[in-house]
C-alpha cells in the first residue's frame, strides 16, 4: 500500500466527492466563527434562503473587537458594538452555539477551540481567520478561509479545495534555554521566507518539535501562515492525548478515539513535495526588525546593512522598512528602546506563555518609559493564571492585567499604538500599521517581551537575572 503523510491521511478521510473536472469536495468537521468575518456570510445565507447545515459542528465566539477593559465596560465604538450584536443575532437565528462576551469560556477563537476540547487530531477545521493554522498542532488539518468560504461551509459543511502540496520541516536537536517555540517559528520564516510555503501544508517534525508542549506546538503551527503555508501540522502523540483528555468536549469514547489517532502519523518513508531541515541548537531568541515576519535577526546581532541585501528590489524594500520602523542599518538590536509591550494574541497568550513571561518579570519592575500589557487568550487562561498568582507577579512588576481577546495583535479594539510608538509584541504580524497607524512592531517571544518591558530595550533573555 502507498505510504501516506499525516496530511494525506486526514485529507483522504474527508474527501466527499471527486467529480471529473471539479476540485475535490472536502468535508469540514469543525467550523469556528467570530464577529469580523461572518456577518456577510450569514447575510448571504438569508438572501439565498439557506440554513446552517450543521449547527452542531459550528462554534462561535467574540474576540477581535472586544475591549480588554473589565467586562461590563460599555463598548464605546458603535460600529464594533453593532458587529458583535450581529453575531449574537445570527447565532440565535441560525442555532449556532456562541461563547459570548460575558461567557466564562470566551476567548480568542484559536485558544478556546483547543482549550474546550473541540480541536482534535484528524479533524478538518476552518475559520474565517488566517491563524486557524494553530489547530494543526493537534494533527488536524486546519486552515483560514474568507467570508465567501465561511458562507459555503455554513451552507454545505463542505469546501471545494484543490489539494495543497506537502512540506516537511524537520527540526533536529533541542531548543536551548531562553529559546522558545516562537523563536523556532521566526527562525523557520527567516529561512524559507514569507512565501516559502505558499500552496503547501507543512508538517513539523523532528526532536525539537516532539519536545514541545501543546502550547509550543500551537505557537509554531500558528505562524505557518506567516510563511505562506495553507496549514501547519504536528503528528499527534502522548503529549497531544494528555492535553485533550478530560476536556469538556473531548471524545467520550476515549479508547476508540486513541485508536483512530494512533493511525494518523505519517508512514515511514512517506514522500513530501519539499523538505526543509533545521538544527534547533543553532537558533537564538529572535527579534524582527522590518515590516514582515521574515525580517528576523538574533537579539545579539544588528539591524542588517543594505549591503547584505541581494537585489535592488530587496534594498528598496529594506529602505522603506528602515524609514517606517525608524531604524538605521547596523543598529544593535539591544540598543533599540521600546515604548510599549504586548503579551498576548493567538500566538502567545496561553498559560505556558504567561508562565514564561512571569518568570522573567518576577521581582522586577517595568521601565518607567514603557507601558506594558498582558492580555490572556481566554477567560480560562485568565482564571488559571490568577489561580497560580501570575496576575500578581505581573501587577507587582507594573504590567497591566487585562481581559481576554485579540487586543493589540491587530488593534480592532481600543488597544492600539500611537504613530511612531515602538512595541515589543508576542503577536504574529509586524506589518505597517498592524497595531495602529504609524506603530512599529517587533515580534518576539513572551520571555523576550517581558525582558524588554523591564529593561526598556531589547535584551538577550539568555543573560537574564531571574529573581524569586
Amino acid at each position: 500500500m502507498k505510504t501516506r503523510t499525516l496530511f494525506e491521511k486526514v485529507w483522504d478521510q474527508h474527501v466527499v466527492s471527486e467529480a471529473e473536472g471539479q476540485p475535490p469536495l472536502l468535508y469540514i468537521d469543525l467550523h469556528l466563527i467570530h464577529e469580523v468575518t461572518s456577518p456577510q456570510a450569514f447575510d448571504g445565507l438569508r438572501t439565498a434562503g439557506r440554513k446552517v447545515r450543521r449547527p452542531e459542528r459550528t462554534v462561535a465566539t467574540v474576540d477581535h473587537n472586544v475591549p480588554t477593559e473589565p467586562r461590563g465596560t460599555p463598548i464605546t465604538d458603535a460600529i464594533a458594538a453593532k458587529q458583535i450584536e450581529a453575531l449574537q443575532q445570527n447565532c440565535r437565528e441560525f442555532g449556532v452555539r456562541l461563547f459570548d462576551i460575558d461567557s466564562a469560556d470566551q476567548g480568542i477563537v484559536h485558544v478556546i477551540g483547543p482549550e474546550l476540547g473541540f480541536t482534535q487530531p484528524g479533524m478538518t477545521i476552518v475559520c474565517g481567520d488566517s491563524h486557524t493554522s494553530t489547530h494543526g498542532a493537534f494533527g488536524a488539518l486546519a486552515f483560514g478561509i474568507g467570508t465567501s468560504e465561511v458562507e459555503h461551509v455554513l451552507a454545505t459543511q463542505c469546501l471545494p479545495q484543490r489539494k495543497p502540496k506537502s512540506m516537511l520541516i524537520k527540526v533536529a536537536g533541542e531548543l536551548g534555554p531562553g529559546v522558545s517555540a516562537k523563536d523556532l517559528a521566526l527562525g523557520i520564516i527567516a529561512k524559507i521566507g514569507t512565501d516559502g510555503a505558499t500552496g503547501h501544508v507543512i508538517e513539523y517534525a523532528g526532536q525539537a518539535v516532539r519536545s514541545l508542549s501543546m502550547e509550543g506546538r500551537m505557537t509554531l503551527c500558528n505562524m505557518s501562515i506567516e510563511a505562506g503555508a495553507r496549514a501547519g501540522m504536528v503528528a499527534p502523540d502522548e503529549t497531544t492525548y494528555a492535553y485533550v483528555k478530560g476536556r469538556r468536549f473531548a471524545p467520550r469514547d476515549w479508547d476508540s478515539a486513541i485508536e483512530r489517532w494512533k493511525a494518523l502519523p505519517s508512514d515511514a518513508n512517506a514522500g513530501y513535495d519539499a523538505v526543509v531541515e533545521l538544527d534547533a541548537a543553532q537558533l537564538s531568541p529572535f527579534v524582527t526588525w522590518g515590516t514582515n515576519p521574515g525580517m528576523v535577526v538574533p537579539v545579539s546581532e544588528r539591524v542588517p546593512e543594505l549591503s547584505a541585501m541581494k537585489t535592488d528590489a530587496e534594498r528598496n524594500a529594506a529602505r522603506r522598512m528602515f524609514e517606517y520602523m525608524g531604524l538605521e542599518p547596523g543598529k544593535r538590536i539591544e540598543h533599540i528602546t521600546v515604548d510599549r509591550v504586548f503579551i498576548g494574541s493567538c500566538t502567545n497568550s496561553r498559560i505556558e506563555d504567561l508562565r514564561a513571561a512571569a518568570k522573567v518579570a518576577r521581582g522586577h519592575r517595568v521601565s518607567s518609559k514603557v507601558r506594558a500589557m498582558v492580555v490572556p487568550g481566554s477567560q480560562a487562561v485568565k482564571r488559571a493564571a490568577e489561580k497560580e498568582g501570575l496576575d500578581q507577579v505581573f501587577r507587582d512588576a507594573g504590567f497591566e492585567w487585562r481581559e481576554s481577546g485579540c487586543s493589540m495583535c491587530l488593534g480592532m479594539n481600543p488597544d492600539i499604538l500611537q504613530p511612531g510608538e515602538r512595541c515589543a509584541s508576542t503577536s504574529n504580524r509586524n506589518f505597517e500599521g498592524r497595531q495602529g497607524r504609524g506603530g512599529r512592531t517587533h515580534l518576539v517571544s513572551p520571555m523576550m517581551a517581558a525582558a524588554a518591558a523591564i529593561a526598556g530595550h531589547f535584551i538577550d533573555v539568555r543573560n537574564w537575572e531571574f529573581r524569586n
Binding site: 469580523v36 477581535h64 481567520d129 451552507a155 514569507t194
Partner: protein
Amino acid sequence: MKAFKVHKGKVAPLHRANIDTDQIVPKQFLKRIERTGFGEFLFYDWRRDQNGQLDPGFPLNHSRHKGASILVTGKNFGCGSSREHAVWALDDFGFRAVIAPSFADIFANNCVKNGVLTIVLSEAEVAQLVERATKHEDYQLTIDLQDCEVRDEHGFSAGFQVDEFTRHCLLNGLDDIGLTLQHEREITAYEAVHPAPVRLVS
C-alpha cells in the same frame, strides 16, 4: 458572482513585493457588517496622510491611473490576514484583475469568489508591464480568459495559467455553493458514516 470573459482596462502599477491585506484594507474598516462600499478604504493608510488627505505621491492617486481596472504588483500579493474585505475593496474601487508574480493562497481564493481574476506572470513580464504603465499615458491591457492571454496594443502578449474549474466558474459567473449542493446525496452519505466525532452541542 460576476462573470469574467474578456476585459480591457487601464493599468495601475504598484510595484512592491509582499503587500499584505492589512495594507489593502486596514483593520479599522473591518467592523462594517456590509459587503459593499469598501473601495474608499482601499490602501487607506498609503493613499491618505494622517489627516485623511490624498497623498499625491501614491501611484493610485496619480490622475493618469484614475479609473484603472487592472492592478500590476509585486510577488506574494495579498499575504497575511484572510479578510475578504481586501477583495471587496479592490472590486469596489473598480479593479477586475490583479497581475503579480505570485499570490497568497487565501487571497487568491477570495478573489475567485468575487469574480476578480488573479493572473500570475513572471517577474520580468510584471516589470515590463510596470514600466509600460508608468511610461504610457492611459496604458491599457486586454485580459482574455477564454484564450488565457494578456496583451496590450504595443506588442506585449503573455499567456497565463488558470485552473480549469476556476476558469469555468469565472467565465460563467457560477455560484459555487450551488455547485456543491448538487452533491447533496454524497454529502448526506458521507455524514451517515462519519458522525460528528464530538457532541459539539452539549
